[in-house]
């Protein structure tokens, strides 16, 4: 509801806010770049995770279908780019050809997953989607024999970067007297696409389809009785969610220049789900917040834990990697204990939880 009132008539206060956020987003890579280019890279990954979370949010947050294999679509997108733009098959298609193909393929896989699982609910759906994600990963891992398609566990490298005409994103260059590194260029590309996806999500949420998803989430039987074609609408949720994942995957492959099945493990699916739930399922700003926090927190802890130990004990007492993930796990538990609806829940959900009904579904 709030998003609706925002999209109609922008008040001057909101306008100021938007301009401020715009300025911050525009200069962010340079500020972070001062601390090292690796931080810009982390920022880029955070943006990729924002895209993934928004995609998963459609399936989990809007339509209420628990999907534990979401990363499979990311993998489909990434491998589509990797196969169509690398020396592996000798293909070097331009981005305007690959992006739609990635999107379409991911969409197709979304429907393939969605179709047989329409009848399943709750946790049965969760385990089937999980199985689907694993199946895709295992195939990527093993499709190097007898016909070498995915190059197996070694993955595919020397993937073409994103380029528009002669403008290469994977190369540093000077523009208008300023030096842009490759991560900084990718940052603006990813930012643009992320903003587009946010816009699509906001419009979707308040559309006829968005309301249908919400109705299915709250009560599928009632939704059906109200004349919603639950089959098509659920399939659409899977397809839409998957297509965002596919685009994010393609960009990931282009940015990294390397893909391997390792990047698409179940742990990744679970991380993305954690981002959606921790941030506040179904609420777009919340999901974005969750994605950025969870993507940045481990890196932040990595940068902090070791020096802090040196400062306090004078040496590294505990394995920094272990303690970093330990704190990460603790943070997840604590956030859920103190804010069960997520850090930034949607207004509707907040009201539901404040009520005494104790609805668990």
């Amino acid at each position: 509801m709030t998003a609706l009132s925002q999209s109609r008539g922008v008040s001057s206060r909101n306008l100021l806010g938007i301009v401020l956020i715009g300025i911050v987003l525009a200069v962010l890579p340079f500020v972070l770049g001062m601390a090292g280019q690796s931080w810009v890279r982390i920022l880029n990954f955070a943006l990729l995770y924002v895209m993934l979370s928004l995609g998963l949010n459609i399936v989990v947050g809007f339509a209420g279908l628990l999907d534990l294999g979401y990363i499979a679509f990311y993998a489909v997108g990434a491998y589509t780019w990797a196969l169509l733009a690398s020396p592996h098959f000798g293909l070097h298609l331009p981005f305007w050809a690959i992006l739609p193909i990635s999107l379409g393929l991911a969409c197709l896989f979304g429907v393939l997953l969605g179709a047989p699982t329409l009848k399943l609910r709750g946790d049965y759906l969760a385990i089937v989607t999980l199985g689907f994600g694993e199946i895709i990963r295992i195939f990527l891992n093993n499709l190097n024999a007898p016909v070498n398609i995915t190059n197996g566990p070694q993955g595919i490298n020397r993937i073409d970067g994103f380029k528009v005409g002669e403008f290469m994103f994977s190369r540093s260059e000077s523009l208008m007297g300023m030096r842009f590194t490759s991560p900084e260029k990718y940052y603006y590309l990813l930012l643009g696409i992320t903003l587009l996806i946010i816009l699509v999500c906001m419009r979707l949420q308040n559309s006829r389809i968005g309301r249908a998803w919400e109705a299915i989430r709250e009560d599928e039987i009632a939704a059906k009785a109200m004349g919603i074609n639950t089959r098509n609408v659920k399939l659409l949720a899977f397809a839409m969610g998957a297509s965002f994942g596919g685009v994010a995957g393609a960009l990931f492959a282009a940015m990294q220049g390397f893909v391997s099945p390792e990047s698409f493990s179940l742990t990744e699916s679970i991380s993305v789900l954690c981002m959606v739930v921790l941030g506040g399922m179904g609420n777009i700003p919340g999901v974005i917040l969750g994605a950025i926090l969870l993507a940045a927190l481990p890196e932040f802890l990595r940068a902090v834990v070791e020096p802090l130990q040196r400062l306090i004990f004078g040496e590294v007492v505990l394995d920094p990697e272990g303690i970093r993930m330990l704190l990460f796990g603790l943070a997840m538990v604590c956030v859920m204990l103190f804010r069960p609806a997520g850090l930034w829940p949607s207004a509707v959900r907040k009201r539901e939880l404040a009520g005494t009904t104790g609805d668990r579904t």
Binding site: Y124, L273, V277, M325, L326, M336, R360
Partner: protein, 309 residues
């Protein structure tokens, strides 16, 4: 035919372990509707603790008897796992009983991450190997080889499952558990102490997990801090395959999954003319799961639950 029997034996052994772990998932799920993601890591902790004790004892006295080592391992692993399971429930899941379901799922994932990394900090990243104290006899049966260790695993698992069945169906605690699983509020009104029942489910599940952990580490000879993840995943799959929340279903699902996996690994190469190798065994397991769920959406033995609003 030899291969068939051999894989059946291997599958039965593997399946017994899956079944024990799956019981822990299904009990908790049946009562509080939570996928306890950390359960696999409880198994891991049991395996690591038992391995550590065994190594220490064999290191101290190379001629120590195998039964003393296994007994000591159980004596340490079971209470430790029970403590871990109980604490996780008390601290991380109980406050969220009325929260949205996914919130509890996320805390369970958080607990899993915490347990894994604690284990890594305590026991290190490397594989711990279980000392070679067991010298299982090998029997021949119709061309297949089975060891006394495999037979022991299957028998102990069967015994434990029988005991659990007796507890759930014959004792007051079991009645209380079943009542709570059906309707928590009403059970509470009838004088069942819900908190005790839920704690008991976690304690029993964790004890079974500890034993399963010991079985894995003695059977495969190694334990590592990440082993709980895949094992837990398989066991959860088994629980869903059988119909989650249903004890008999978990046992059937576990055994079935073990057998499917072993047979799949043994035959998939021949079936596809060498196109797909044995590393597709996990695919096999998941494909069977998907197929079963398509035709029986609530698992093999699960009841058809009416659509509830």
């Amino acid at each position: 035919m030899d291969i068939f029997i051999q894989q059946l034996v291997n599958g039965l052994t593997l399946g017994s372990v899956y079944a024990l772990v799956a019981l822990g998932y299904t009990m908790v799920y049946g009562i509080i509707g939570l996928i306890n993601f950390a359960h696999g890591d409880v198994v891991m902790i049991g395996a690591m603790a038992a391995t550590m004790i065994a190594s220490a004892m064999v290191g101290g006295d190379p001629n120590v008897s195998a039964f003393a080592v296994l007994g000591a391992g159980l004596l340490i692993a079971i209470p430790l796992c029970m403590a871990v399971g109980w604490t996780a429930e008390r601290v991380a899941y109980r406050p969220l009983r009325r929260a949205p379901r996914l919130a509890a799922l996320i805390t369970a994932i958080g607990v899993s991450i915490i347990l894994q990394n604690l284990a890594m900090m305590v026991w290190g990243r490397n594989y711990l190997s279980f000392p070679q104290i067991l010298h299982p006899q090998v029997f021949e049966l119709g061309g297949a080889r089975m060891s006394s260790l495999q037979i022991a695993i299957v028998l102990i698992a069967a015994l434990l499952m029988g005991a659990l069945f007796a507890i759930v169906h014959k004792t007051r605690l079991g009645t209380a558990m079943r009542a709570t699983a059906q309707n928590r509020e009403v059970a509470g009104l009838m004088g069942v102490n819900i908190n005790t029942v839920i704690s008991a489910a976690f304690l029993i599940g964790s004890a079974l997990a500890a034993i399963a952990g010991m079985m894995v580490t003695t059977y495969y000879g190694v334990a590592q801090y990440t082993m709980g993840f895949m094992l837990g995943l398989k066991a959860f799959t088994a629980a869903v395959l059988g119909g989650i929340g249903n004890l008999a279903g978990a046992m059937a699902g576990g055994l079935l999954l073990g057998i499917i996996e072993s047979l799949g690994a043994g035959y998939i190469g021949d079936l596809t003319g060498g196109f797909l190798g044995s590393h597709y065994q996990d695919v096999f397991a998941f494909v069977v799961l998907v197929m079963v769920l398509i035709f029986r959406p609530s698992g093999l033995l699960g009841e058809r639950v009416g659509d509830r609003a």
